[in-house]
Each structure stands twice: as structure tokens, then as C-alpha cells.
Symmetry: C2
Subunit: 130 residues, 2 copies
Amino acid sequence: MSERVTTPRPTDGELAILRVLWDRGECTVREVHDKLSASSAIGYTTVLKLMQIMTEKGLVERDESERAHVYRPALSEQKTQKQLLGDLLDRAFGGSATKLVLQALSTRRTSGKELAEIRSLLAKLEEEAR
Amino acid sequence: MSERVTTPRPTDGELAILRVLWDRGECTVREVHDKLSASSAIGYTTVLKLMQIMTEKGLVERDESERAHVYRPALSEQKTQKQLLGDLLDRAFGGSATKLVLQALSTRRTSGKELAEIRSLLAKLEEEAR
DNA sequence: AGTAACATACGAAGGTCTTCGTTGACAATA
DNA sequence: TATTGTCAACGAAGACCTTCGTATGTTACT
């Protein structure tokens, strides 16, 4: 009876795979493995297994029409980021987006252009709030 | 020989405990359990065990001088938030703080006062960047 | 002294995550 | 046709997380 409505939070390993998928649109296991093994030693079957599990979880979708199955993300990068962010917000920031934003801004060096971009959104939000 | 330098990322359960600890400064297991069991059914020994493990991991520090041990967070709320945020930034946002901030701002409703606060920090950052 | 309440410690069970070896199917090539 | 390479599937091991029952010790009261 009980069906999962929302996708589960991706784990670290799953997120690494999703990043490749988001970047390329769709991939075979081999492509993902080639990409990932450039920066870390990881076995082919490890990636395969992970992607199989991600299929079960609904994190990715699989096209089995060819011998080498083709995977693509089930959720967009933005949607996933939004979910993860909301999650962290509740778990660690007590729901205060402001605290989170302030923390993020003061942590990482941000370029002038990026600051301008943020200010632009800020202005728009203030406009809407009126 | 090999000693952990940084504290590990707290799990969900550990974070729930840390939030109580940050709020109160220091607590016994009973106090934490009383607080947590208000919102979720969780056994006393479960909380105890978690806090013992957190002590081993270095997430909290323990004063054993009294019969009921007293725990306090090893890292401030801010430091932990910073760590978790940086973590998420790398794992899910490809390191772009701007993307994260924009996402956070557009997701949650933010009050005018908060927006002002953010803009104030923004101005300071732009000043510094010059 | 005896008992009830409360504390930590310990161990184990059940779940998830990560890892990879092995197997068997299929394809390309010698 | 025999061999070599590539693929998905499966199963299992080891680490960690969460959960809690049980054991054992201490305190406080009757």
C-alpha cells in the first residue's frame, strides 16, 4: 500500500553520480565511472551497484533498450538542491534561511559580480514583499 | 598514530541532540531525552548511547565528576553550521556559494527585516572587496 | 536493611551504505 | 569457432547508524 511520495535524500556517493548526470544529461555506467575514477579510485561495479540502487529509489531513471543502459536524473539539479537545502535548514539552522544565507556569504569569498547578482535578487524580493 | 583532526559530520540524530545542547549550553542525558521525547518517541538509552558515541567522536565533551554526566557541545553552533554548509556546498552546489544563496533566498519566505540584514552584510562585503 | 528510582555501560539486532568479486549473457574479433 | 572484452545482475562483507533490553552500580527514602 504505502508508496514513497518524495525521493529520499541522496547520499554522498549518489550525489557524486548525480553531479555527472546533471552535467551530461544522460550517461551509461561506464561514462559515469570514467568521470568519477579520474578523481577517486572506485571500482566499476561499485558505480553500477550504486546506480542500480538509485534506480530503485527513484533518484534516476533508466533506459534499458540498449545493451548498455542509459541513466538520467529523475529530479533536476535545482530541485535536488532545493530539497537538500531545505533539509539542512531544518536540521541545522532551526529553519532560519537568513542565518543560513549570512553564514554562507561570510564563509566563502564571493566575487563582485556574484554579489551584484545576489543584490539584484534581494531587490526583487523586497519589491515583492511590499 | 593517525588522529582525527576534524570532527565528523553529525548525523541527523546527533544534530537533534546538538540543537538541544546549543540551546541550553550543557545538559545531562535526562534533560536531552526529556526535550527530545516531547516531539518524538525515543528511548532513554537510545539517547544515552548516541551521546556516548558522540563523545568518542569528539562532537561533545563530557564532565563525569557528577553521577549524572554533563555534556556540552565541542563545537559552537556557528562552527558546525559553517562546516555543514561548506560540506553541502561542495557536495551539491559544485562550490558555488552564490547558487546556494540564491536558491535559499528564493525558496523560503524572508521578512523585510531579514532582507535588510542580508543587504547590510552584502554592503559590507562589497566594501571589503574593493 | 531493604527497596525503588535513576544512572552508566554493554552488547546485540536490524537497517543502510559502500565496496567489490563472481557469474553468466552478449558481442566483437582473431 | 574459440577467445577476449564488455555488460548487468547478484550476493556478500564490512562499516556505520539507530534502536533498545539487560546488567550493574549508586542514591535516597522507608
